[in-house]
């Protein structure tokens, strides 16, 4: 049994003009201690998909359908009260802007202690002891527990966020662009920390990012999203080594590879579509170099290519010439 199994998750945002089909038929599977990278450009629906798991969505969003099984237990239609128990204790989230996610007028220690007291029913003293231990774990001097968020650097704040996220030993941690605003060296440090925690605690990690390289460094599995849909997913080596979907290939080509020859990376022409009015057929056809008539008319089916490697493109079933 998988730790987390998501099937056909669909979430829409309601706007005055109509529904934004932010994520449609998303299926993911995550094993214990596994790391899954969810990759896509901004507005590809990757964050929506992840936040839908624990229903941390804006008021105008609604999860239309889909099943979410955590350890075999269906949590998709769970009442708010149960979800509140699940968040943090079973599925926790590390947000992108650590400064916004932390309360500026309370010390970082207090904020972790508070969460621990609510979710773990421990005494104040025990909570502080655990908080100090957590700080040590994320390599911050435990003496700094009484300091306020603004006294920490960006990297340190992200470590605090990680400490908070793993405080209750969750089964799954979702990192929403956890290293995006950080310097390379700090990014490497934070990723290494996440990796280490994941291995020690056997947590499942879902890493949401627009940066393929972050996935390459840390994830076992990768799912590439475009315009609200998964276009390809599989083991990281396979997807990077033998990308099947033109979008995945374009993303990889857009990435500078310092081990290769010096040249400018290649961009993907155009912009992601407006999901109020998603394109017909394959959602990528407007930006795809190989797009043919069938791509505009018919939505490609998800094909099974190899062990765990799937992708949806008309090229793969031979209907469009490569």
């Amino acid at each position: 049994m998988k730790l987390l199994e998501v099937t056909n998750l669909t979430t829409y945002y309601k706007l005055r003009e109509g529904d934004v089909r932010a994520c449609e038929n998303i299926s993911l599977a995550l094993g214990r201690g596994e790391a899954l990278g969810l990759v896509g450009e901004s507005a590809s629906g990757k964050t929506t998909a992840a936040l839908s798991l624990v229903k941390l969505l804006p008021d105008n969003a609604s999860v239309k359908s889909g099943s979410i099984k955590l350890d075999g237990r269906e949590i998709a239609g769970a009442p708010e009260e149960e979800l509140r128990r699940i968040r943090w204790k079973e599925i926790s989230i590390i947000f992108q802007g650590a400064m916004n996610a932390l309360n500026p007028v309370r010390s970082v220690g207090e904020q972790i202690v508070e969460a621990l007291k609510i979710h773990e029913q421990v005494t104040e003293k025990e909570a502080w002891r655990q908080t100090r231990a957590l700080f040590e774990k994320v390599e911050i001097d435990p003496k700094r527990v009484k300091e306020y968020p603004h006294e920490f650097s960006g990297g340190m704040r992200q470590r605090v966020m990680i400490a908070m996220a793993v405080a209750c030993n969750p089964k799954v941690v979702i990192g929403d662009e956890p290293t995006t605003a950080l310097d390379v060296m700090v990014q490497a440090q934070v990723l290494q920390l996440l990796e280490q925690l994941r291995r020690e605690r056997e947590m499942g990690l879902i890493l949401i990012t627009h940066d393929l390289s972050v996935v390459g460094e840390t994830c076992d599995q990768v799912a590439v999203m475009y315009a609200g849909k998964i276009v390809e997913s599989g083991p990281t080596e396979t997807v990077f080594g033998k990308p099947a979907h033109p979008y995945t290939r374009a993303l990889i080509a857009a990435f500078p590879d310092i081990e290769g020859k010096r040249s400018l990376a290649v961009s993907i022409p155009g912009n992601p579509p407006n999901l109020l009015y998603p394109p017909t057929g394959c959602r990528f056809h407007e930006r795809c170099a190989y797009a043919a008539k069938v791509c505009r008319e018919e939505e490609p089916l998800m094909l099974h290519l190899a062990e765990k490697h799937i992708s949806a493109c008309h090229i793969l079933n031979g209907r469009v010439k490569h």
Partner: protein, 338 residues
Amino acid sequence: MKNLAAIDAGPESLLMIKDLEVHFAARAGLLTALFSKAPAVVRAVDGISLTMAQGEILCLAGESGSGKTTAGKAVLRLVEPTGGEVYFAGEDVRSFRQARLRAFRQQAQIIFQDPYESLNPRQTVFAAVAEPLEVNGICRSLAEKEERVAEALQDAGLSNPRELFIRYPHELSGGQRQRLAIASALVLKPRFIVADEPVSMLDLSIRAGILKLMVDLREAKTISYLFITHDLSLAWQVSDRIAVMYLGKVVELGSADQVIKTPLHPYTRALVSVIPVPRRRDAREKTLLKGETPDPVNIPSGCRFQPRCPRVQPRCRTEVPPYIEIERGRYAACHYVG
């Protein structure tokens, strides 16, 4: 320690920076301000020397706190240098006043990091691009101005420029906005542009397009760039030479391939080792440095990198390593290099 080799500018050099310094008074708390004698000084840029040839792309790379952005702005005097010299096309930039400074700024432009913040939200595309012309009293007639604005937008890769004239920045995509920012720098026909992290706020998929545009403009209009970035892989792609900064100083300088493929300074080596590659990588040796760049108020003694250096020796703690030419065109500041 001055090193003349580092600044021997040929006659073709466009920009020459010598021992450039930018020090600020630190904003201390009330108590510190009352009780300490000497006010704390932030040594944001602490003596850097560089030369740039006409048409060159030189990259200032470094993490936050390295002083790279301050250095770039100091060259344009958007931040006043507190020491050192800056020569642009042989002229002393620090001596420019009023009209001369304005004339200099027509030739030396800047592109900012955040295309959302560097454009006035209440200016239309036309107003934003025409403004540099108006401020500098360049175009007489409206028709001429429209021509120049359309041309600049076109050069920045925005097709159908006239249709964009009465759009507002918020109606454009991130990539289009950055192109608009580039157009408003191009409209003055500059020879030199400081590009301060021009793509770091953009999605990876559109970055490449902006970078290509900038490199193409170098060819087409002989524009030189001082390209500021924290991303070494980006620096490697676009620039001819890379200068790696750490805590207000250049620690290594060389051609893009030299710096990335065979880094000399331990700091550069560590930075290069953590550059992500788009594939699964376990075996590859990564050098993770401990901690973060220290505060430029308290600069460590000796070599400023020594507290984090994986190869530190006793000598490093006391003696400042000279910034010397290791081989032709390659400079580094480390006791144990060369």
